[in-house]
Symmetry: C2
Subunit: 363 residues, 2 copies
Amino acid sequence: MLSLSLREEIARRYGTPAVVIDLDRVARNIARLQAACDAAGLANRPHIKTHKNPVLARMQIEAGASGVTCQKIGEAEVMARAGIDDILVSYNLIGPHAVGRLGRLLRESPARITVAADNPVTVAGLPEAAQAGGRTLDVVVECDTGRKRAGVETPGEAVALARDIASRPGLAFAGLLLYPPAGDAAGAQRFLDAAKAGLAEHGLTARIVSTGGTPNLPELGGVRGATEHRAGTVIFNDRMMMAAGVATLDECALAVLSRVVSRAGPERGILDAGAKTLTSDSGGGLDGYGLMPDHPGARISAFAEEHGFLDLAACAARPPVGTLVEVVPNHVCVVVNMVDELVAVRDGVIVGTLAVEARGMIA
Amino acid sequence: MLSLSLREEIARRYGTPAVVIDLDRVARNIARLQAACDAAGLANRPHIKTHKNPVLARMQIEAGASGVTCQKIGEAEVMARAGIDDILVSYNLIGPHAVGRLGRLLRESPARITVAADNPVTVAGLPEAAQAGGRTLDVVVECDTGRKRAGVETPGEAVALARDIASRPGLAFAGLLLYPPAGDAAGAQRFLDAAKAGLAEHGLTARIVSTGGTPNLPELGGVRGATEHRAGTVIFNDRMMMAAGVATLDECALAVLSRVVSRAGPERGILDAGAKTLTSDSGGGLDGYGLMPDHPGARISAFAEEHGFLDLAACAARPPVGTLVEVVPNHVCVVVNMVDELVAVRDGVIVGTLAVEARGMIA
């Protein structure tokens, strides 16, 4: 992705490790996602957990996205401040701190705000936010059709929670949020059909039926009745998406530029990117902690906090100390969250930096 | 560590997840490390990678530490700005960016600065920093006595690199840096004795012989000729140090306060602390991603980015949605690096927050 002279220039200006994005590839990934949603007749609501940056969110909106998805209230605040006007927080917001911030967001931002819930405790807390915000809060019911993550596990529970929402002052039942397991659109369909039938019995309608996930893009449109899709990782892609067969190396728009700082043994090397940069995320059981396209035989076999340990036994051209190498991370979303800024390049030239404004917004 | 009312108060003020330290335990851990170094006749040079905070570094200095250890130049800058006057950067600083920052640090800070090197490329770049700084730069040779991390692998290489350092303008050979494998003080001793003999043949002396690691504290003083020790994790301790037998639960001074936000299935729960808080660090192969002292049967079995998935099958008292739980992380150093501030408590009362000032200082 980066020429040798560009690597030197980035390293000189910003030091290493540096997290670098190629804006041409980013733009192509954004366009590809939008085209896929358009073709499937779905609104595109990208998840900003991957980039955490308002400029990139704006690029997604300008390409046709209907709004954004956030995972935490802090991310939503950053997006609202940047003028994004339709925000879904796909998370159970519980407790006085989160509910208080949600109330302030509803009061101070003109954005359309929707939140998710998968249990009555969450629902019971939300009217306070709506009241503080002075407006009705849209709530979707998170449903689990098999991934065993968040979400009610049966259509009956979904209907019961929708009725609970609809009965609360200041809340409106807005629809259903799904993240089907890849390859099981049929299971999601059965869940959705049963839930919609149950809702109808109680005079309720799911205006929003939101599906999610970059791994589900090949099956986009496979769930009849879906209205929108939430995909995050696709804006940058990573080794995990390559392994899932939904991205090629050329579609990976982010790399960590790292320097070989030691060649302690003939078959060993050490990168200056360790667990505090690339993270220990295995990408769902991949071999090693990143892909080095220039050095296909090299394996990032282990980490110290600031050291990436290279196994070079199978590496034909072993990089000497000082070499600048690109690493495609296992999981791009957690790597972006480690740094305060991304170095942006376009057409082989450094454009500047983008602040990871919602970095560390865990609350 | 935290009473239920204190948990509620922290959650109300700061939201969850929150990274909380107990200053009483911190002070005891600092005192215990200092006493161990004093008893072994070693200077105490704690590694600030664990806390990344100048206030805690000052507490260590006031307790008797001779200076601090940093892993990256950005960490050293933060410590120098805070007035810490003796700083070792135990890392190969390579390339114009790192060398340039080192030169500025030498010029602008009155602190004693020492850096490490394990190869001639690093050494060749350092005179530029010394020249820019207008003073001699002390350099120690990093030696690997068996851990297979950074460091020259033989006493002969150590001597050759020491001679290289001594021959360069502006550089002074200052000594040797070791991080012996736990339980192998004998191996480190053989390496050190051979290296010192080789150095003497060339008229060189290792003024500093620095050993490292919290796991090596039980053997402190086991390497004859050592002059100082670098330990980081011990200030907070964690599940990994408990597993290594060098800390008890009562000596763990940091916990992540997290809320149960979903009980999607009867045997499953979801915490609001996921991979972006607790990190995927396995702590060297521990079972699960943290210890929940209040819920000994609960297991943090997997992560999404903002979700910790609880396996509650073996949990006698399964926490309902909304419960605030403490999690002792697998590896405390990487968790501190995820957040901008630590919530500090003392005697069961919130004292305030400490900024993780060197967070994300990967360059």
